[in-house]
Homo-oligomer: 435 residues x 2
C-alpha cells in the first residue's frame, strides 16, 4: 500500500534516510498516517506531542492515545504540557498563534537537546488548497497563495503532495485509528466549510485539479523568488542603512516603474498597507509620516526615512507666539486671552510667565514623564499611554508640547499641572490644536 | 442609481471623458448595463455587435435587439457577420478562440476606420473571479491568476471593479432588458457551475471577499511586474541575439538561483513546459534538443540555442560505415548483408555502390524532396509530412539520412526509390534505427 510515499521519499527526500526524525504528532488522521508510513518505510522516527491543555479530558485522551501508539510501534514519544491560554494572554496573541509559537519553540529545543535532524509535519495538498482559499477570501499577496515549501530548513512535509483522500484511503485499508480533534472551532468551521462545500466542487472542475493546483503553487513560488531577487537588487541600490534607520532617495524611487509595484514590494515587508498614503508621502511636505503597525516612514526633504516604531526618528518643531511653522505636523494657534472662557475640546490655557519661548513640539521618548493636570505628583508618560489604551500607532502619532524640555501638553490629551493658570497669573495664553 | 460608476469614471478613468468610445456589445446583461451607464453619464458611445452566426435565429434575434436598443438610446450601432465555424476550421482553433480573434480584429478596424479612441468591454469583478478559478483548476502561473487590467492600451473595462450583483441590481431597478445568451455551452457550463455553486460559498467565507480578491489580484499584478522587470534584466545580460536564434551560455544559467525559477521565467514565454527535460538538457550531450510547441532548445557544447521551430538550427552528423557517432541524435546500425532477410520495422536495405560515405544525418529544410520508395516520381517532403499528418514537433524531430545531399531515408518512415537494392546490386547495406 501507498508505494507513492516510498517513491517520493527516495526520489525527492532521500536526504531523510538514516537521519533522526521527529514527527510532529497531534494524533489526528494525517500525523498518524505519516507515523505509520515512516515506520513502514524503516525511517528512524520519534513522536512529539503537544498537550495544549485546551480541551480538558479530551487533551489527556489524545496524550494517552499517543503514548499507546508509541509503545505499539516501538518508538519514543515526547510529550509536553503547555499553559497555552496563559501564554496567549501574556503575549497578547490568539490562542492559535500561541499554540503555534509554543509548538515550534519546543520542537527547536528537542532538535537541539535530543539530537534530531529534522521535524516532519503531516501537511498535505488539501491543507495547502484550504489555506490558499482562506487567504484568498481574506485578501493576500503572492506569499499567501504560493503555499508552504516541502522542505524549509529542518522542517520537512513529506505528505505535501498527497491528497487527504489518499491519506484516508491508506488509513482505511490498514485499519489505522486516529483521534478526531474538536479544538480550534472557529478555524475548524472555516476549514470544514471549505473542505466539504468548496473543495469538492473545485475538484469537479478538472480531473487533476489538485495536481494542477500544486503545479500552480510551484510556479507562484518561482515567480515570487524572481521578484524577491529583484527587490534585493533594488534595495541594494536604493536603501542606505544608517544605524536604526534606512534612507531612501525619493528621486530614485520615482524612477522605478511601475511605481506601485515597487512601493508594494519594498515596503510591504515593513507592514505598510495604505498605499495611497505612501504615494502621497512622496510629494508631501517634509515632516509628514505614514505608519504601519511596526514601522514609520518619514518624509524628510528629498529622502524617506524608514525606521522601527520603537526607534523612530526624533523630530522637533519650534512653536512661536504666533503659532506653528508650516512644516509642523500639528497646527497650533496661540492667542493671549483675558480669561479661560470658551474652552474647546483641544484647548489649554497656560500661564505665559511659566513658559520659555519658542516652545518645542517633539515626539515622546523613553523616560518621559509629566505632572498630569489635576493630579498630585508625576506620572510616566508610558503609564499614561497605557491607561489611555493607546495603541502603538497612536503613541507614535502623539506629539508633546514642551518648554525647556518639560512637557506642557500631551497635545490634545492632557495638560501639565506645572504650567496651569493660577490666581497669580498675569498673562494667559490659550493654545488650540487646529489640526 | 449607481453613482459609483460616475465616481469611478471621474476618479480613475477621467481620460475617457470627451473621447469617442465603442462599446463591445453582445446584448447580454453586462454590456447592456454598461451602455446604459455610459449614456446616463453622457459619454459618447456607439455599439459594436458581432453576429457570429453560431445560434441561427437566436443570433439574429440578438442583432435585432441591439439595433432597437441603439435607436432607443439614439446611438450608432455597428454590426458585423462572421463565418466563425469556417474561420475556426481554417485556423485550426476552437470556435471560442476564433470568435475572440474575429471580434478583436474587427474592433481594431473600427477604431481605425471610424476614428474611435477606445473600446469598452463589460467585464466585471465576478468575471475575473470565475476566470481565476477556471485557470486555477487547469493549472496556471501568476499570469493566469493576476487577472486582466482595467486599462490595456485602447481597451478599457470600466465595470471591472463592480460585482455582478451590483450590475444586476442596477438593471432591475431601471427595468433594463437584456438577451440571455445560450451560446458557448461548454464554457458556459463551467462558468455556471462556478457562478452558482462555488462563488457564493467563497463569498460566505468573508464579508468583503470580492473586494479582497481584487486587492489580491492587484498585488499579484505588482509582483508579476517585478518578476518581469527582473527577467528583462537577466535576459539583457544572458541572451545573445543572433539572427533567428538566441544563444545562452549554460555556465551563466547555472549561476542563477533558484535555477528552476529562472528556467521557468526565461523559457516559459517560449512555450516550454517540460522542466525536467530542460534541466537535463543543461548537462546533456551536445546535439540534444527539447521542444515546445513553437520553439526548440538545442544544447550545443557550452551554450543553449533557442530558436523558433520554423527557423531552427540546422544540424548535420556524419554516418560512417561503422555507424553513427556518440553525439548523433539517432543511433543507426550499418551492416553488410547477403540478402534482404529479417527486415525489421525501422530497417532499410540499400545498394552500397549508390551511396557516398560518410552519409549525413540532417534536419529537413524548405524545398527538400525525395523519391518515395515504390512510387514513381518525386515528392516534396513538406507534402509527405502533411500526408503523414506529422505535427510541428514531429517534423522537427524528423531526421533525414542523405548521400550527397540526396535523401536516402526519411529515417524510420520512408526509403528513397533511388538507392534501393536491385538485381544488379553487388553489396547490400542494412541500416537499422536503434534509437
Amino acid at each position: 500500500m501507498f508505494p507513492q510515499f516510498k517513491n517520493h521519499i527516495n526520489n525527492n527526500l532521500a536526504f531523510l534516510n538514516g537521519k533522526k526524525l521527529l514527527v510532529a504528532f497531534s494524533g489526528g488522521l494525517d500525523s498518524v498516517v505519516l507515523a505509520h508510513l515512516c515506520v513502514g518505510n524503516k525511517m528512524e522516527i520519534a513522536l512529539a506531542h503537544c498537550n495544549f491543555n485546551l480541551r480538558g479530558e479530551e487533551s489527556d485522551g489524545d496524550e494517552d492515545f499517543v503514548r499507546q501508539l508509541g509503545s505499539k510501534l516501538g518508538i519514543s514519544v515526547f510529550v509536553e504540557h503547555f499553559e497555552t491560554k496563559q501564554f496567549a494572554e501574556d503575549q497578547r496573541v490568539s490562542v492559535q498563534m500561541a499554540a503555534r509559537e509554543l509548538r515550534y519553540q519546543w520542537f527547536e529545543e528537542l532538535l537541539k537537546i535530543e539530537g534530531f535532524d529534522f521535524v516532519l509535519t503531516a501537511h498535505h495538498a488539501d491543507d495547502s488548497l484550504e489555506t490558499f482559499i482562506i487567504n484568498l477570501s481574506r485578501g493576500t499577496g503572492i506569499e499567501g497563495l504560493s503555499g508552504i515549501p516541502e522542505v524549509n530548513g529542518n522542517l520537512v512535509r513529506p505528505l505535501l503532495e498527497f491528497s487527504r483522500e489518499e491519506i484516508l484511503a491508506y488509513a482505511d485499508a490498514n485499519e489505522i485509528k486516529w483521534r478526531e480533534d474538536s479544538s480550534n472551532a472557529e478555524n475548524k468551521y472555516l476549514r470544514n466549510k471549505i473542505r466539504h462545500e468548496i473543495v469538492p466542487k473545485l475538484k469537479e472542475l478538472h480531473p487533476s485539479m489538485l495536481q494542477n493546483f500544486q503545479n500552480t503553487q510551484k510556479h507562484l513560488q518561482q515567480t515570487d523568488a524572481l521578484a524577491t531577487n529583484h527587490l534585493l537588487e533594488v534595495k541594494h541600490k536604493l536603501f542606505q542603512y544608517e544605524e536604526d534607520q534606512i534612507k531612501i532617495k525619493i528621486g530614485d524611487l520615482l524612477e522605478l516603474k511601475p511605481l506601485d509595484a515597487y512601493l508594494y514590494g519594498l515596503l510591504n515587508p515593513y507592514g505598510f498597507t495604505e498605499w495611497n498614503d505612501v504615494k502621497h508621502l512622496l510629494h508631501a511636505m517634509s515632516g509628514k509620516q505614514v505608519f504601519s503597525k511596526t514601522h514609520g516612514l518619514l518624509k524628510n526633504r528629498d529622502v524617506l526615512i524608514l525606521s522601527k516604531l520603537n526607534n523612530r526618528v526624533q523630530q522637533e518643531f519650534p512653536v512661536y507666539l504666533d503659532g506653528t511653522p508650516a512644516e509642523s505636523p500639528v497646527t497650533l494657534k496661540l492667542e493671549p486671552v483675558r480669561s479661560m472662557q470658551n474652552p474647546e475640546k483641544k484647548t489649554i490655557f497656560l500661564d505665559k510667565e511659566k513658559l520659555n519661548f519658542p516652545l518645542v513640539l517633539r515626539n515622546w521618548e523613553k523616560g518621559d514623564y509629566f505632572y498630569p493636570f489635576g493630579m498630585k505628583g508625576k506620572k510616566k508618560l508610558s503609564k499614561f499611554f497605557k491607561d489611555e489604551k493607546l495603541d502603538l500607532i497612536s503613541k507614535e502619532k502623539q506629539w508633546l508640547l514642551c518648554s525647556n524640555d518639560e512637557i506642557v501638553w500631551v497635545v490634545g490629551k492632557r495638560a501639565d499641572e506645572r504650567f496651569k493658570v493660577e490666581d497669580s497669573t498675569q498673562e494667559i495664553i490659550k493654545i488650540t490644536q487646529l489640526t
